[in-house]
Amino acid sequence: MKNKVLNKIKNMSGWTDLIYSLFAIVVAFIIGAILIKISGYSVKTAYTTLFNGAFGNTYNFTQTLVKTIPLIFTGLAVAIGFQSGLLNIGAEGQLYWGAFATTIIILIFPGLPALILIPIGIIAGALAGGAWAAVPGYLKAKTGAHEVVTTIMFNYIATLGTTFLIKNYFKAAGPVDQTAKIPEKARLPELMANTGLSWAIFVGIATVIVISYLLNRTSLGYDIKAVGENASAAEYGGINSKRITVITMAISGAVAGLAGSMIVMGVLHRFITNFSPGYGFTGIAVAVMGKNRPWGVLLAALLFGALEAGGMSMQLFAKIPKDLMTVVQGLVILFVAAPSLYNIITGSKDTKEVEV
């Protein structure tokens, strides 16, 4: 009986992946502990301050969530691309254009009421990110140009392009290359004063729900996954794989663009050049960790947010360099991406074999 239940759980691949991932996290932390020890710090102090920094009190937890929000969006963006077999390395650039469009549209129409201004700001960010990502999608469909190469190049154009535009046309007075602040009413309300945690978290969760629904319950989602799994068979079934490539990139870019909108409307309240510490790239790791599933991405983003926030307080209070947590992040990814390590360590076999 117990075996039957266990088998059932095993057959639900979401659960297996979750177990794998938890295992990967544990192993990464064990190796992390060894590194902390070798570096001459106390493992106990390190991990307690890390944990307290991430979850210790309400304020600390809000900081974890603040770090989590952009990663939910960029992680989702990359995951959507993966589902259709596309490697969108350009989330970073799409995020910049999203943030830029949100800021500018709000600054152009400051007189509109909040109820209109906030949705317009969000939509502008999604559209800008989507349009920016659709171009590499179109290039791939038309000419076969690989999206990895084009989206990487597009990142440079995006960061430098926004910097150029801000410097020359939208710069607020002062030494920093940034725009003026957006009006109070266009900002997403804070859930707790002075934490930076805003309604953006709900937008993030809503986006997870929407994308999950899109991929699993809609005809378009079916087409996206069909092209990702086997483009030849998709074409045989009448799916226009080139069209799907463009659409998938556009959706992916729109979600990455939302990350930019959320940062502007929830945290920075203006566009500051080069503001992103690489959310778009961390999104790739988040997607891998989340096995390209929307809910998996949410959990993975939370883990990365916690490591980031906890790492900061570890550095601040225990004087243990935050980089050690970056190493742990890297190890987590390494183990998640290599599930066979799990088999070697636990001695289990035959996890994926099928009758041919």
């Binding site: 996954k225 069909a226 799994e229 086997n230 068979a233 074409e235 045989y236 009758e355």
Partner: protein, 512 residues
């Protein structure tokens, strides 16, 4: 002496028992056939022997010594070599490079001694009488030659026991003959050969002993000389098989499909389709005969809108559909059984339900306004699984878990249940066992009697002559003959397929 002895082998995949207490003994120096339908457990048994799967129970003896095979490298060290149905070769590399891969002769610890390698390969090929150019690139070789490279690869690793998984499935009839010569040479050299197959004639022709599997169980061990194909078929399927077909005369009706002056060029295969003209009417099966690679694939893909063509027109019931998308053509009522079912016909990562609605995922009742209705999808797929006797654990199991014959039934189930008016059927029984083959042929004839138009593309002459009302022969992208089926003899078809024009045939016939 027994080169291989497997005792009481049990292997389960979840709830499915793939091997149920199977015994096998293979004598040294013999050709031993393992015969069974798809899904009977032949490949599983051999993958256990080669260390690709771990058995749940049972013992293995090699040369009468008990061994524990846990990985292919253990198997290779024991002198076992396996030639898979899908070749494991690097297309861009040469024959020599492929053969020595992993066991390269090295100079100064760094460099590959290419000269020595080429000599080794050449000697090896000569010893077994293989015709092969060690410098040729794999991508330039025919399928039959590639197979010989695979065999050489195993021999280079000193294999004494060779496992061949459905080796003839990919070969033309001529290549099969050559391949059998190769097998006999190997046998004379003292090698032990295990031959997995579901083809009765080949089993009778080549093997010394036969082991029959059905539903994961061993049914019988037989000496080839003491049996015949009828007995084998009965044991394999579990009931008598009627090889004859009961084909009613059909009055072919209105034209459903028409091709007019189609010219096309396939950049990948360098094949030109030249001035293709034909029509298929209601209640008619038009067989397209020909050795594979003479334009069949191009024809199939052009009709379905999967490949562009240069000039000409395609008609579906008087409507010019030359520029219609694949999806529009399917919606008009064209069904397609693709020649490459793994590449085109199904999505392995999807479950059966999802595969069964491929192409209908935007249409009612499976979706409304772009939202899928999973209940209806699975209800529909459950019905198809039942109607087409697809052996599976259910609609939600992954398509990759199906055996070859059941995969084909899945494709057939999907396509025929859409109530099409035209069927484009390519290589419908490739890699499919006798039972399923019979089932598929009956289905096609049933479709014909319902008045559907059927274009049957097949490289199996038996299938063409058995089912077709009319036959056309493709050779190097041209139609070299097109007539009523009873106007051709088998010999004529064979010669036409080999590129002899009509006059040549008359000469050959008269000199006989």
């Amino acid at each position: 002496m027994d080169a291989v002895k497997m005792k009481n082998i049990i292997k389960k995949f979840g709830e499915v028992v793939a091997n149920d207490k199977v015994d096998l003994s293979v004598k040294k120096g013999e050709i031993h056939s393992i015969l069974g339908e798809n899904g009977a457990g032949k490949s599983t048994l051999m993958k256990i022997l080669f260390g690709l799967y771990t058995r749940d129970n049972g013992e293995i003896y090699i040369n009468e010594k008990k061994v524990d095979i846990n990985s292919p490298s253990t198997a290779i060290n024991l002198g076992i070599g396996m030639i898979h149905q899908h070749f494991m070769l690097v297309n861009r590399l040469s024959v020599t490079e492929n053969i020595i891969a992993g066991q390269e002769p090295i100079v100064n610890n760094i460099f590959i001694n290419k000269k020595a390698a080429r000599k080794d390969v050449k000697d090896l090929a000569e010893r077994y009488n293989f015709k092969i150019n060690p410098k040729a690139k794999i991508e330039d070789l025919s399928v039959g030659e590639q197979q010989r490279v695979e065999i050489l690869k195993a021999l280079y690793r000193d294999a004494e026991i060779l496992i061949l998984d459905e080796p003839t499935a990919v070969l033309t009839p001529q290549e099969v003959e050559e391949f059998f010569e190769v097998l006999n040479t190997l046998k004379e050299a003292g090698k032990t050969i295990i031959f997995i197959t579901h083809k009765l004639e080949e089993t009778m022709e080549i093997s010394d002993n036969i082991t029959i599997l059905r539903d994961g169980k061993k049914i019988a061990d037989l000496k080839t000389e003491e049996t015949d194909s009828n007995e084998l078929a009965r044991m394999m399927v579990g009931h008598e098989i009627d090889f004859s077909v009961d084909k009613k005369e059909m009055q072919s009706g209105k034209d459903v499909l028409g091709l007019e002056g189609i010219n096309a060029y396939n950049e990948r295969s360098f094949l030109n389709l030249k001035n293709i003209n034909f029509k298929v009417g209601e209640g008619e099966i038009l067989g397209v005969a020909g050795v594979e690679g003479n334009g069949q694939l191009e024809l199939e893909e052009i009709i379905m809108g999967l490949m562009n063509f240069e000039s000409g027109k395609i008609y579906f019931k008087d409507k010019d559909i030359s520029h219609y998308s694949t999806s529009k053509r399917r919606q008009l009522g064209i069904a397609h059984i693709p020649s490459d079912r793994l590449k085109r016909g199904m999505i392995k990562g999807f479950n059966l339900g999802e595969n069964i609605i491929l192409g209908s995922e935007w249409q009612k009742p499976f979706a409304e306004n772009g939202i899928l209705n999973k209940d209806r999808i699975f209800k529909y797929s459950d019905k198809i699984i039942k109607d087409f006797d697809i052996r599976t654990t259910g609609s939600r199991s992954s398509a990759s878990d199906l055996s070859g014959g059941n995969q084909q039934k899945l494709v057939l189930g999907r396509e025929l249940s859409r109530e099409p008016e035209l069927l484009v059927v390519a290589q419908p029984t490739r890699g499919v066992d006798v039972g399923a083959r019979e089932f598929i042929h009956d289905l096609l004839l049933e479709m014909r009697s319902e008045g559907k138009a059927i274009l049957l593309i097949s490289s199996e002459l038996d299938e063409i002559t058995k089912l077709s009302d009319r036959i056309l022969v493709l050779y190097e992208g041209k139609i070299v003959a097109n007539d009523k089926a009873d106007k051709f003899t088998r010999e004529e078809l064979g010669l036409l397929m080999a590129g002899h024009e009509g006059e040549d045939i008359d000469e050959k016939q008269s000199t006989k």
